[in-house]
C-alpha cells in the first residue's frame, strides 16, 4: 500500500527569547500551536492527534511534561504521543506526525516542540559527573569542539570558515522577526574577535540558549489540496548510531550519510546541490555547516567549506542555508529541529517573509542530536510529490 501524500498546512512559532518569563511551558506551546492552527484555519477540536517533542527531561526538571501538558495542549480525547531523540527531537517529532498521516491513521495531526531553557541550565544538565569517569565534559560545546578540530584538520579548512557561517546566520536572523538574536553588525572579524570558549570554537560561533516553541499542522492530501499553499512532504528519513564506537566517524557520521542517501533516493534527487533550492540545517556550532554540507552530500568530503567560503550558502547563493538565522540565532533545543523543518516548509510556501529565497520549490529541513547520533530530515516542495 502506498503512502498517503501529506503536506504542512499550518505553521506557527513563538518569538524566541533568552527568557520568556511571561508564559509557562503550556503557554509557550500554545502560542506556537495557536498560530499554526490559525494559519491552517482550524481549531484544536478539528485535529485528530497531537505529537509533542522536547529535549531530555533533565533540561527542565519536569519528568514527562506531556502528562501535565495534555489538557492545555487540547489532547483530551485524542492520541498524544511524545517523541525523544535528544537535540534532533523537533525533526523526528514532525516525522512521527507526518507518518501518522502518510500511514492513513489520521487526517490532520498537530505537532509541537518546545524548550524553556531559562528554567534550567543545559550546560549543567549535559555535564552531570558520572562516577569513576574523568570529569572533563563541558557541555555540548566541549563535546563537539574536538570533532570540529578534527574536521578542520581533515578538510584542511581555513580557520575563518566558522566565522563566515556565524556572520551569515546572524545577518539572516535580522530578517526574521521570530529569531532570538538580532545582533546588528556581526562580521567575520567580530566573530573571530569574540572569546574563544571551547578552542577552536569562539563565543559567536555558538548557539544561544532560548525559550521557544514551534508547531505545525500536517494534513492528508484530500485536506491539503484545498489549501492555497501547502508544503508537500516529499520524503522523510531518520537514522541512528551509537554515541561512541571504535573507529566511529565523528566528523562525517555514517547515520547522517545513510539518512541523506536514503532521502535523496526517496525523493528522486540525484544532484542535491542543484535540485534543492535552500536548506535549513541544524548548525548549533558554526563549523557544522560545512561538516553537514558534506555529510548530506551537497559537497564532496573535505569540500563543504568551499561552498561556505564562496558565499554559496548565503541568501542569493546557489544553496542558501539557514535563511532564518538557524540554530545559531535561536535555540530552544527541543524546538530547534522542528524550526528547521518548519522554515523549510515556509520557504516552499513562499511565506518566509524577508528571508524568503526567491522561487524556492524544494527545501531540506534537517536536525541532529545526541553525540551526532540521531539524524532526522525531510524534503518539502511546493508541488505534490511525483513519486
Amino acid at each position: 500500500m502506498s503512502k498517503v501524500p501529506a503536506a504542512v498546512i499550518g505553521i506557527g512559532q513563538t518569538h524566541h527569547r533568552a527568557k520568556r518569563e511571561d508564559v509557562s511551558m503550556a503557554g509557550l506551546c500554545r502560542e506556537a500551536m495557536d498560530r499554526a492552527l490559525e494559519d491552517a484555519g482550524l481549531t484544536l477540536d478539528e485535529v485528530d492527534a497531537i505529537v509533542i517533542g522536547k529535549a531530555p527531561d533533565l533540561f527542565e526538571g519536569v519528568m514527562m511534561p506531556e502528562l501535565y501538558l495534555a489538557e492545555a495542549l487540547g489532547a483530551a480525547g485524542k492520541p498524544l504521543l511524545r517523541v525523544h531523540t535528544a537535540g534532533s527531537v523537533g525533526g523526528s517529532t514532525a516525522i512521527v506526525a507526518s507518518s501518522l498521516v502518510q500511514a492513513g491513521v489520521h487526517k490532520k495531526v498537530l505537532t509541537v516542540a518546545f524548550e524553556k531553557q531559562s528554567e534550567s541550565n543545559a550546560m549543567w544538565a549535559l555535564s552531570v559527573p558520572i562516577p569513576f569517569v574523568m570529569p572533563v565534559h563541558a557541555g555540548a560545546g566541549g563535546y563537539f569542539a574536538p570533532h570540529v578540530r578534527s574536521y578542520i584538520r581533515r578538510a584542511n579548512a581555513p580557520s575563518h570558515i566558522g566565522a563566515i557561517v556565524a556572520a551569515k546566520d546572524r545577518n539572516n536572523a535580522l530578517k526574521n522577526p521570530y529569531a532570538h538574536l538580532h545582533n546588528e553588525g556581526t562580521t567575520v572579524e567580530s566573530v573571530l574577535a569574540s572569546q574563544m570558549l571551547w578552542d577552536p570554537i569562539h563565543y559567536d560561533e555558538t548557539c544561544p540558549s532560548s525559550d521557544g516553541a514551534c508547531a505545525m499542522v500536517i494534513a492528508a492530501e484530500d485536506v491539503a489540496k484545498t489549501y492555497e499553499a501547502p508544503a508537500w512532504i516529499h520524503g522523510t528519513v531518520m537514522r541512528s548510531e551509537p554515541t561512541s564506537a571504535a573507529e566511529r566517524d565523528q566528523v562525517n557520521p555514517q547515520a547522517g550519510r545513510d539518512a541523506a542517501a536514503a532521502l535523496w533516493k526517496a525523493t528522486g534527487i540525484t544532484d542535491p546541490a542543484r535540485e534543492i533550492d535552500c536548506a535549513e540545517i541544524y548548525v548549533p556550532f558554526a563549523w557544522f555547516e560545512p561538516m553537514w554540507l558534506e555529510n548530506l552530500g551537497f559537497a564532496p568530503e573535505g569540500e563543504g567549506w568551499k561552498l561556505t567560503e564562496a558565499g554559496e550558502t548565503a541568501i542569493g547563493g546557489s544553496l542558501p542555508v539557514n535563511m532564518s538565522g538557524g540554530v545559531l540565532s535561536s535555540n530552544p533545543i527541543g524546538a530547534s529541529g522542528m524550526l528547521r523543518f518548519a522554515e523549510a516548509a515556509l520557504q516552499v510556501r513562499g511565506r518566509a517573509g524577508e528571508h524568503q529565497v526567491d522561487g524556492a520549490r524544494r527545501a531540506l529541513g534537517h536536525a541532529y542530536g545526541g553525540g551526532s547520533q540521531f539524524f532526522s530530515m525531510w524534503v518539502v516542495g511546493s508541488q505534490p510529490p511525483s513519486n
Binding site: 549543567w124 555535564s127 563541558a138 566541549g142 578534527s150
Partner: protein, 316 residues
C-alpha cells in the same frame, strides 16, 4: 566481591518556573491568603484554575475569589511522611472541594489519625505566617466553626516565577566490564577488552560492543602511552564544573586500543597541544588511588615525535 562497582550520585538543581498569568494569579492569591478559582466556559469554577479550558481550549481569564473553607470529597492517610511533604508527622492528603468551586483540589489536612477524617468533613485553611506564593502557604484543618484570625495579606508584586528545587539520589552501577577496568586502575593497570566479534579493543571495556552487541571479553593490559587524536581547550566556566578552566580535554588513543579515552592534558601550555602529540599517563600518588580514572592525574607529553596523521585519522 560484587560484579559491579557502584557509587552514589545526587543530581540536584533549583529550577525556576515561569508561572504564566493563570498559575501566577493563583499563587499570588495564596500569598495574599485568598483562594482563587478560574471560571470555565461552562460556568464551573476550578481550583486551581487551569491555564486553558479543558472543553473550549481557550485561555482561562476570569478569576473568582473563594472562601478558604471546603469539603473533603476523598482522602488517603500518609502514615510515613517523606521529605518535602507538608508534615513530618502522619497526616491526610485529601481532595477538597472549596466552597463555590466545582472541582476538587489535592491538599494536606492536619488531623491526628485516620479516625479524625472522613468524606464530607468540613475543612478550613490554616495559613502560614510567612507566605511566598506557593501551595505550601496553607494546609487544611477541621473546621471547628470558630473563626481563627487570618494573617494579613503579604502584598507585593504578583507572583510570576517560582523556584522548584529538584534532587534525585541514586546509585550508579558500572557494568561488570567497566568495573574490571576501574578495579584495574586501583592496581595501576589500564585494562581493555577485545570484542570477540569485531576484534576491536575497547577501553573502558563494554557490556555490549556498540557494533556487535556482545560483551567485550578477552582482557588486554594496555600501554600507558598513547596519541592525542583530537582535543579542545575548555575556557568556559559552568555550574558544577570539577576542573578549573582553562584545561585541555583530549581524546587519547592508547597504544593497542581501538577507541580513544577522554582525559586531561597538562605539563604543556594549552596552545602547544597538538593532534598527534604522544602522551603518557601521569598517575597520582598511590595512596590517593581509588577505583577511578581519576587515579590518572592527567596525560603529559612523552617528548617523542608526533604520530603521523594517517596513523590515527580513522579515529576522528
Amino acid at each position: 566481591m560484587s560484579r559491579t562497582l557502584q557509587a552514589p550520585v545526587t543530581v540536584a538543581f533549583d529550577y525556576t518556573r515561569s508561572t504564566g498569568p493563570v498559575i501566577g494569579r493563583f499563587l499570588t492569591g495564596l500569598r495574599d491568603t485568598t483562594i482563587v478559582g478560574g471560571r470555565l466556559g461552562d460556568g464551573r469554577v476550578a481550583v486551581p484554575p487551569p491555564e486553558y479550558d479543558p472543553v473550549t481550549h481557550q485561555a482561562v481569564t476570569e478569576f473568582v475569589e473563594l472562601p478558604d473553607t471546603g469539603t473533603v470529597t476523598s482522602w488517603t492517610w500518609v502514615s510515613e511522611p517523606v521529605a518535602g511533604q507538608p508534615f513530618e508527622r502522619p497526616f491526610a492528603y485529601a481532595l477538597i472541594t472549596i466552597d463555590g468551586a466545582d472541582t476538587p483540589w489535592l491538599h494536606a489536612v492536619d488531623v491526628a489519625s485516620p479516625d479524625d477524617i472522613e468524606t464530607g468533613m468540613r475543612v478550613r485553611a490554616r495559613w502560614a505566617e510567612e507566605r511566598t506564593g506557593s501551595v505550601n502557604d496553607l494546609v487544611f484543618e477541621a473546621d471547628g466553626g470558630d473563626q481563627p484570625g487570618t494573617p494579613a495579606p503579604a502584598g507585593g508584586e504578583d507572583v510570576s516565577r517560582i523556584v522548584t528545587p529538584v534532587s534525585l539520589d541514586y546509585h550508579y552501577a558500572a557494568s561488570p566490564e567497566e568495573s574490571s577496568f576501574f578495579r584495574g586502575l586501583a592496581e595501576g593497570k589500564i585494562l581493555g577488552q577485545r570484542c570477540p566479534k569485531c576484534q576491536k579493543v575497547y577501553v573502558p571495556p563494554r557490556g555490549a560492543c556498540p557494533t556487535d552487541g556482545v560483551p567485550t571479553a578477552e582482557e588486554i593490559e594496555l600501554s600507558h602511552v598513547g596519541t592525542v587524536t583530537t582535543f579542545c581547550v575548555v575556557n568556559v566556566p559552568f555550574l558544577g564544573q570539577k576542573i578549573k578552566p582553562p584545561y585541555v580535554s583530549a581524546y587519547v588513543l592508547l597504544d593497542g586500543a581501538d577507541i580513544a579515552l577522554q582525559h586531561l592534558i597538562l605539563d604543556i601550555p594549552a596552545d602547544e597541544v597538538r593532534m598527534g602529540m604522544r602522551v603518557e599517563a601521569v598517575w597520582k600518588p598511590r595512596d590517593e588511588w581509588g577505583t577511578s580514572i581519576e587515579n590518572i592525574s592527567h596525560f603529559a607529553p612523552t617528548g617523542e615525535p608526533d604520530a603521523d596523521f594517517d596513523s590515527y585519522k580513522h579515529h576522528l
